[in-house]
């Protein structure tokens, strides 16, 4: 009987270890997913600031159309649009475009733009040397801004890609605590006045 108990305990031990391991594996999928997306350039996730020591090769025989799309995340009140919706570029040529943003509300707000590139096969060949999406944008009440994006399309981009669409979604990142604190202060001030 004790022999039986011991082998049961061994099986239960192994099973519980697997359960814990698989639970951890579920969470490990989160960073793994990001690593895979970045390494393979899938899912349209563009990378961070591009830095290169070598000058990128120019290819004036090819023209790539780059289109820009801007949209607001849920409950984001800002006005947000690309200044030009489409540019034609040669691979290797640095190009600057601007996105317009305006905060129409009566409160200072912070926003974060999240990019997505389509078709996702082009992601590895789309380099951004300067982008407003690298940082959060803070706008005072009623303030507007032109936000620059500098990008280079790599000459190594596959021949079948003629058009890239870059989409930005703007999300409200204003700290809710700070906002309500600001409102609180305002109320207090009013009381005093």
């Amino acid at each position: 009987m004790t022999e039986q108990r011991r082998s049961n305990a061994r099986v239960v031990g192994w099973c519980l270890a697997s359960v814990v391991g698989m639970f951890a594996f579920g969470f490990a999928l989160v960073p793994l997913y990001d690593v895979f997306c970045e390494a393979l350039g899938i899912n349209g996730k563009t990378q961070g600031r591009y830095e290169s020591t070598t000058v990128l090769e120019r290819d004036d025989n090819r023209t790539i159309t780059v289109q820009f799309v801007a949209q607001n995340g849920p409950e984001m009140p800002w006005e947000f649009r690309p200044v030009v919706t489409s540019v034609k570029v040669h691979p290797g040529e640095p190009t600057t475009v601007n996105f317009f943003a305006r905060n129409p509300t009566g409160l200072a707000m912070t926003a974060q733009a999240v990019p997505s590139l389509s078709p996702s096969e082009g992601t590895l060949y789309f380099h951004k040397t300067e982008c407003f999406c690298f940082n959060q944008q803070k706008l005072e009440a009623g303030e507007s801004v032109n936000m620059p994006l500098v990008f280079i399309v790599d000459a190594a981009i596959p021949a079948e890609i003629h058009k890239l669409t870059l989409s930005y979604t703007l999300y409200d990142q204003s700290d809710p605590a700070a906002v309500s604190a600001a409102e609180q202060t305002q109320i207090t001030t009013n009381d005093n006045g």
Binding site: V11, C15, V19, K45, E121
Partner: protein, 527 residues
């Protein structure tokens, strides 16, 4: 020494305790198996009622009976209750009843944990069902609960749904550990792995699948919980997360899950077809390897549920071919069942009728699965009624018919009485016709472009939907007949012999009918 203690223990426990505490405290595998089966049938009726609401609303185009919000809650709850409340507990119930008797064990290896894993289930489903009465209603995002529909846009009751999934996950994992420990440690001397009945084999592999993927489900709902309540951004793009990640993690659990729901049925059918063909199973070893191969492949095909989310071409190709590869071991099984029947002395009692219908109709569901596996074609089929037709063909005549076949096959052993064969055959034919009438037209609806999970539809889909609803009502009502047959069989009937089926093989038939409360206190001899 141990044998002496066992005999003493048996002398003191002649039978079950009396009253409700018998069921609350029981550690007997037969009691727990019965409770699992009764619970599962209750959930089957509840989930079925929700299906009737869905089909009543879809009987005609336009909104007649329920609001779209409630319709969405019905499709969600129907799916969750049928998957986690009806099919999975039914197989755990069969495992509890049959595995110890099939391998010559006195009980499950961990009887107290067995009791606990059952009693967690009513608690989990009480929580899940109570969400129907909460402000904002029950979960309404489909049984796959895709983020951000379930996180950003879900009703407040989503947190209760998450808690219910956690509890049923714990219950499934404990049940699976128990099955593994029983099969590995409690086989009678001489019962080598390759002498085990196929039902035991398929359950062993199913238990490993459960251990591997239920924790991943727990993980994904935990991430949802944190996104909803603690401000994390696993699936929220605004905070750097990704909703597509949800689909990857969910289907990493979800695809093995569909095999969890079908493999035990494969095992049961592999017991029943030889019994009524009066021939040994054709290709026993290949059956075992096929189940193993299906289980392994189930881990590398998950993205075939997500062909349209924008995965790269290489990914589409890999998941397409890997999915099609599953047809090979599945085909081995189907051909083995047919070869078992070939030139057998066949008779068609109710278990055999359900088993043969299982083979034919599951194959139809398998073929529509192959159609869906073709990535370029899937863009057309995705989220249409074709998908609904496909998975109902593998789950209703697959899992459910497998459970009915098992129930009729082993009812004489459980109750000591023969069930009413005429009524059982009526149950079969009404189920067979009703089920096909309900689900076959859905193939056409899907190919014609009717989307799934909608309470209203375009006029050109009206006729097929009406046929489908009539079939569904027929199938649903017929299950009350099954309840009647089982109750009648429990209360009385023709006395069942120890081995009521002429061609049946296996240790369970060496025991008297009904099986005594304690069996195989002394392990049997295996030749």
């Amino acid at each position: 020494m141990s044998a002496v203690i066992d005999t003493h223990a048996q002398d003191h426990h002649h039978g079950p305790a009396k009253g409700f505490t018998r069921w609350l405290y029981t550690t007997n595998h037969k009691d727990i198996g019965s409770m699992y089966l009764i619970f599962s049938f209750a959930m089957f009726l509840l989930g079925g009622t929700m299906a009737m609401v869905i089909r009543a609303e879809l009987f005609q185009p336009g909104l007649q009976i329920v609001e779209p919000e409630f319709f969405n809650q019905m499709t969600t709850m129907h799916g969750l209750i049928m998957v986690f409340g009806a099919v999975m507990p039914a197989f755990v119930g069969l495992a509890n009843w049959m595995i110890p008797m099939m391998i010559g064990a006195p009980d499950m290896a961990l009887p107290r944990m067995n009791n606990w894993s059952f009693w967690l289930l009513p608690a989990a489903f009480l929580i899940l069902i109570s969400t129907l009465f909460m402000p904002g209603g029950a979960p309404n995002f489909g049984w796959t609960f895709y983020a951000p529909l379930s996180t950003t846009y879900g009703p407040p009751s989503t947190t209760f749904f998450i808690f219910a999934v956690h509890i049923m996950g714990v219950s499934s994992i404990m049940g699976a550990i128990n099955v593994i420990a029983t099969i590995l440690n409690l086989r009678a001397p001489g019962m080598t792995l390759m002498k085990m009945p196929l039902f035991v084999w398929t359950w062993l592999i199913t238990a490993f699948l459960l251990i591997a993927v239920m924790p991943v489900l727990a993980g994904v709902v935990t991430m949802m919980l944190m996104d909803i309540n603690f401000g994390t951004s696993f699936f929220n793009a605004a905070g750097g997360g990704d909703p597509v990640l949800f689909q990857h993690v969910f289907w990493f659990f979800g695809h093995p899950e569909v095999y969890i729901m079908i493999l035990p049925a494969f095992g049961a059918v592999s017991e029943i077809i030889p019994a009524f063909s009066r021939k040994p199973l054709f290709g026993y070893a290949s059956m075992v390897y096929a189940v193993g191969a299906i289980a392994l492949l189930s881990f590398v095909v998950w993205a075939h549920h997500m062909f349209t989310v924008g995965i790269p071409l290489a990914g589409e190709l890999f998941f397409m071919y890997a999915t099609m590869l599953i047809a090979v071991p599945t085909g081995v099984k189907v051909f083995n069942w047919v070869a078992t029947m070939f030139r057998g002395a066949l008779s068609f009692e109710a278990p055999m009728l359900f088993a043969v219908a299982f083979v034919i109709l599951f194959t139809i569901g398998g073929f529509s699965g192959l159609m869906l596996a073709v990535a370029p074609a899937d863009f057309q089929y995705h989220d249409t009624y074709f998908v609904v037709a496909h998975f109902h063909y593998v789950l209703v005549p697959g899992a459910i018919f497998g459970i009915f076949a098992s129930a009729y096959y082993w009812l004489p052993k459980w109750t000591g009485h023969m069930y009413d064969e005429t009524l059982a055959q009526t149950h079969f034919w009404l189920s067979f016709v009703g089920m096909n009438l309900a689900f076959f037209p859905m193939h056409f609806l899907g190919l014609a472009g009717m989307p799934r999970r909608i309470p209203d539809y375009a006029l050109q889909f009206a006729d097929f939907n009406m046929v489908s609803s009539i079939g569904a009502f027929m199938f649903g009502a017929t299950q009350l007949l099954f309840l009647f047959i089982v109750v009648k069989c429990v209360r009385g009937g023709e006395k069942a012999a120890a081995k009521p089926w002429e061609g049946a093989e296996g240790l369970e038939w060496t025991l008297p009918s009904p099986a005594p409360y304690h069996t195989f206190a002394t392990p049997p001899e295996i030749k």
